[in-house]
Amino acid sequence: MDDIILREISLIVIPFIQMYGLYIILHGHLSPGGGFAGGMVLGLSMVLFVLVHGAERTLKKISHDAATVVESLGTAWYIVIGLVGMAKGATFLMNQGAGINVGTPGQLLSSGLILLITAGVGVKVASTILTLFMALIEEDH
């Protein structure tokens, strides 16, 4: 799809979509949304970039290896965060019960491990969407 209108408009729209995706991820403990929904928005902004600018230009920005590493780290991050509870002497994935300071409910920086887990899941879902789409679109070449 080599069209100047699409190319220019996508460059304006994509940052706003990504900002909204990050907003949904970071406010997962405050408002509807969270890691899966926000990661999907973030991933679809990259899918829009692939559709308009082509797979070659996307691979220059995010290589296959980078996406795969982020993908694996997202899952590993969840387990590492779960181990924090065990390190503090409670059970796996324990949050407030393990003595972690959950802060003031309603603040952006609150809820202890929930914020960290949501961020990890969001990044992971975004890279899943991109990797899946790239794998399917490159099948034709």
Partner: protein, 96 residues
């Protein structure tokens, strides 16, 4: 002979299911299991997790194991897609 066996087996299953249904609380009566869990989440959720979004409280704190395995399912799905894609490409796409 075989039909008789099937009939006996179906009878046993019907008996077990009917027994389970008979144990259920009557329709419209308060159900203790259901209401205790619900009250606990609503009353203690914000204090115990620090999150004001009840859905996030449940999926990332009380049911964090479930979300962990859900993430693993996504990981397994993407890994198998990449694996198959790579195998087909190495094969020259003859079986693809």
């Amino acid at each position: 002979m075989r039909g008789l066996l099937m009939l006996a087996l179906a009878g046993v299953i019907v008996f077990a299911l009917a027994g389970a249904v008979a144990e259920l609380p009557a329709y419209g009566r308060p159900n203790p299991t259901h209401n205790l869990v619900y009250e606990r989440y609503v009353e203690a959720g914000v204090r115990e997790t620090g999150a004001v979004n009840v859905v996030t409280q449940i999926i990332v704190d009380y049911r964090a194991y479930d979300t962990l395995i859900e993430t693993t399912v996504l990981f397994a799905a993407i890994a198998s897609v990449l694996l198959l894609n790579r195998a087909v490409r190495k094969d020259g796409g003859r079986h693809g």
